[in-house]
Amino acid sequence: MNSVGNVILIEDDQQIRRFVKSALEGEGWKVFEAESGERGLIEARSRKPDLLVVDLGLPDMDGVEVVTEFRKWTTIPVLILSARIEEQEKILALDAGADDYLTKPFGVGELLARVRAVTRRRLQNTMASPKMCFADVEVDFIRRSVTRNGVAIHLTPIEYRLLSVLLSNIGKIMSHRRLMHEVWGPNNTESAHYLRIYMSHLRQKLEHDPAQPAHLLTETGIGYRFEL
C-alpha cells in the first residue's frame, strides 16, 4: 500500500499506541511512535511528518508544551488526545496551535474521521475558492453575499465576519478567544457573550433547525466549529 504520509504518535500508554498505530497503518500512514514529549520532538525533526498525534498527559512534559514547541517550525496538522475533564488544557493546546482534539476513550472510526478532517482541511486551505456551499446556503466571498435557496440573506458586518472566519477554518475548533480576536480585532473590549449572541443569530438565519445545528456547532467549554 502506498504511504499517505508520516505521522508521529506521542502517547505514553503502550496499548493506546498499539491500536492507534494499527488503525492509522490501515489507512496507509507510516507511523513513528514516541512515548515521551522529548522523544516525540526528536522524531518530528528527523522524520518529516505530515501529522502529529499528541496525548495531553505525557510523563516528561505537558502536551501543550509539545504543541508550542512543534508550532515554532512547522504548520502541519496536530491532533490532541485528551480526557474529558481537561477543558482548560484543551483550550490551551488549541490556542497553542493544535488543530483538533479527541476525547478519550474513542473508537477507531472517530479517530480516522478526525485524522481525515484535519488533513483534508490542509488541502482545502491551499486552494481558496471564491464560493462556498453548505446545505441550502451559498456564500460568495467576492460579492460578500449570502443566499439561502437562492434568496438573499441579510447578515450584519459582524455576522458576516464571524461566518467567514468559521468558513475559512472548516472543521477546526475555534476557541472563544481566537474567534473574538479574529472578529472584533486584537483590542476587542467585548465579552464572550457577544460571540454567543451573534452565533445564535447566524444559526437563526442559516441553520435548518437552529436548536440542533448541523454546521455551526458548539464545542462546550471551548468554542465553536464549522462543519460541512
Binding site: 496499548q15 498499539r18 480526557a83 474513542f106 457573550h193 454567543r196 449572541i197 440542533q212 456547532l217 462546550t220
Partner: protein, 499 residues
C-alpha cells in the same frame, strides 16, 4: 476633694514652712550687726524659693508673707514692732513680697510641669510596652493578657468582647443589657459612658474596636472614677492598639485558612485527575482495540465480531460510569469551582444532543426555543452534563421511536428547561428520592446504570442556586424541569449598521 493622707501631708508642709521661717529668723538675728539688712532680705527670699521648690505653692505663699512680717518685726528698726521708722522700708517689703510670690508661683508651676512630664513619659512607656506585647500576640488570649497587664497599672479593669462571624458577642450571651450597649457603641462608632445610662456606682466605658475595615468588637473598661480627658485619650489610644492587633490576628487566621483550603483543593483535584487518568487510560486502550477488532472481523464469523462489539460497548459504558463517579466525587468533595459566564441555553442544548447522537438514534428529539431568550449565567460544561444525563435517562426509560422534547421558557424569576419523554414515567412517590445518590426507579432492573445521573444533575443545579424537579406528566411520560435564576444579564449593545 482631697484624701485624708493628702490633707495631713499639706498640714505638715505648712508647719514645716513656718518652722523654716522661724529658724532662719533665729539664725539671722545674731548676724544683724554684721550683715546689711539687704542681705538678710536675700536669706528670706532663698527660704521662700526653697519652700516653693519642695513644699508647693500654698506653703510658699504663706512663707513669703511670713518672711515679710518676720523681717519687719525682728530686723527693721524699731524692732519688735510692726511700725517702721524709715518709709523706704515699705519699698523693701513690697519688692520682697512681690519677688516671694512670683518665685512661689513660678517654681510651683515648674514642678507641676515636671511631674506631668514624668507622668506622660510613664504613660508613653506603658503604651509602648502594650504595643510591643500586642504586636507579639498570636492569639486573642494573649491580647487579653497584654491588656490586663496594662490596665493593672492604671487602677481600672478592662475586658475585650469580640464579635463572631454572625455579628454576635459570644462572651456576652448572658448579659443582654450590656450586649445592647455594646451594639450601640459599635453603631455610634464612639465611646459610650454607661453612667449616663444608669445610676450604678461604678463607671463603665464601652469603646468600639475600630479597625480600617470593620468594627471587630468592644472594649469594656471599669473605672473607679472618671478623671477627665487625659484618661479618655489614653483609653482611646489603647483601644486603637488593641483594634489593630485584633485585625492583624483576623487576617492571619484568614490567610492560614485560605492556604489550607487551597492546599486541600489542590490535593483533591490532583487525586481526582490522576485517578481519572489512570482509570481511563486502560479503558481507552480497551475501547480502541475492541473497536479495531470489530472492524477487522466484520467480514468474518459473527460470534467474534459480536463479542468485539460487546467488549467495546461495555468498556464505553464503564468509562461513562467512571465519568459519573468522578464527577460526583468532584461535586461532593467541597467547593465546586463553577466557570460561570453569561451564556445561551441553546448552545448547550445543541451540543448535548450532538454528543448523544448514537444514544438518541432511536428517538426523535424536538427542541422548542423561545425567541429572544435572555442570557443566563451558568457553567456550560456542567449544564451540558446535566442535559446529557437527562436525555440519556429519557432515551433509556422510554420505548424506541418515542419522541423526546426539550423546551426552554421563563417562569417567574427563573430560566427553565423541560426534558420530557413518553415512557413509563417515574415510579409513583419516588420523584423526590430519585435525586439522591445511588437511587434508581427500580432497584435491580436490567437497564444499565447505578443511579448517579440524577444525583449529579441535582448537585450541579444546586451549585448554580437553581432547582430541579421531576414530575409525571398527565398525558404519560416523565418530565424533568430545571430552573436557574435569571439574575441581571449584561446589556448587549445592538450592532450599528452603516446604511
Amino acid at each position: 476633694m482631697l484624701g485624708n493622707s493628702e490633707t495631713q501631708q499639706l498640714k505638715r508642709n505648712y508647719l514645716f514652712a513656718i518652722l523654716i521661717c522661724v529658724v532662719i529668723t533665729m539664725l539671722a538675728t545674731p548676724l544683724r550687726q554684721v550683715l546689711d539688712l539687704a542681705n538678710i532680705v536675700m536669706l528670706f527670699l532663698l527660704v521662700v524659693f526653697l519652700v516653693a521648690l519642695k513644699l508647693g505653692r500654698g506653703p510658699a505663699i504663706m512663707s513669703a508673707i511670713l518672711a515679710v512680717a518676720l523681717f519687719d518685726v525682728f530686723f527693721v528698726p524699731p524692732r519688735f514692732s510692726f511700725t517702721v521708722n524709715n518709709a523706704q522700708y515699705l519699698i523693701t517689703f513690697s519688692v520682697m513680697l512681690a519677688v516671694g510670690l512670683a518665685t512661689a508661683h513660678l517654681t510651683a508651676k515648674l514642678s507641676k510641669h515636671a511631674a506631668a512630664a514624668v507622668d506622660r513619659e510613664q504613660n508613653t512607656r506603658r503604651l509602648y510596652e502594650l504595643a510591643r506585647d500586642l504586636a507579639g500576640a498570636s492569639s486573642y488570649d494573649e491580647i487579653s493578657k497584654a491588656l490586663s497587664l496594662f490596665v493593672a497599672w492604671s487602677g481600672y479593669t478592662a475586658k475585650l468582647h469580640l464579635l463572631d462571624a454572625n455579628g454576635e458577642f459570644p462572651s456576652l450571651s448572658q448579659d443582654i443589657a450590656f450586649t445592647t450597649i455594646a451594639h450601640m457603641a459599635i453603631k455610634q462608632g464612639a465611646l459610650v459612658n454607661t453612667s449616663q445610662l444608669s445610676d450604678e456606682g461604678s463607671l463603665t466605658l464601652v469603646l468600639p474596636l475600630k479597625s480600617p475595615h470593620k468594627v471587630r468588637g468592644v472594649l469594656e473598661a471599669n473605672l473607679e472614677k472618671y478623671v477627665g480627658d487625659v484618661d479618655k485619650e489614653m483609653l482611646e489610644a489603647v483601644v486603637n492598639l488593641v483594634a489593630i492587633a485584633v485585625e492583624r490576628l483576623h487576617y492571619v487566621a484568614l490567610t492560614q485558612q485560605t492556604q489550607l483550603d487551597a492546599t486541600s483543593e489542590r490535593l483533591r483535584s490532583s487525586v481526582l485527575s490522576s485517578l481519572s487518568h489512570d482509570l481511563r487510560t486502560p479503558l481507552t486502550g480497551l475501547v480502541g482495540m475492541a473497536d479495531a477488532l470489530a472492524l477487522t472481523t466484520a467480514q468474518q464469523s459473527d460470534s467474534v465480531h459480536n463479542a468485539a462489539i460487546a467488549i467495546r460497548d461495555q468498556a464505553l459504558a464503564m468509562s461513562h460510569l467512571l465519568s459519573n463517579l468522578l464527577e460526583m466525587a468532584r461535586l461532593h468533595s467541597g467547593k465546586v469551582a463553577l466557570r460561570k459566564d453569561w451564556r445561551l441555553f441553546e448552545d448547550v442544548i445543541g451540543s448535548a444532543i450532538k454528543l448523544l447522537k448514537p444514544t438518541l438514534a432511536q428517538h426523535p428529539v424536538t427542541v422548542t426555543l423561545a425567541p429572544d431568550f435572555p442570557l443566563v449565567e451558568f457553567d456550560d460544561v456542567l449544564l451540558e452534563r446535566v442535559l446529557c444525563n437527562l436525555l440519556e435517562n429519557a432515551a433509556k426509560y422510554s420505548p424506541l421511536e418515542s419522541p423526546i422534547e426539550i423546551r426552554e421558557y421563563i417562569s417567574g424569576e427563573c430560566a427553565c428547561i423541560d426534558v420530557s419523554d413518553h415512557g413509563a414515567g417515574f415510579p409513583a412517590g419516588k420523584t423526590e428520592s430519585l435525586f439522591h445518590m445511588f437511587e434508581r426507579g427500580e432497584s435491580e432492573s436490567s437497564t444499565l446504570g447505578v443511579g448517579l445521573g440524577l444525583a449529579i444533575c441535582s448537585a450541579i443545579i444546586e451549585a448554580h442556586c437553581g432547582t430541579i424537579k421531576a414530575v409525571n406528566q398527565a398525558q404519560g411520560g416523565a418530565c424533568v424541569t430545571l430552573c436557574l435564576p435569571l439574575g441581571k444579564p449584561p446589556i448587549v449593545n445592538p450592532e450599528i449598521e452603516e446604511a
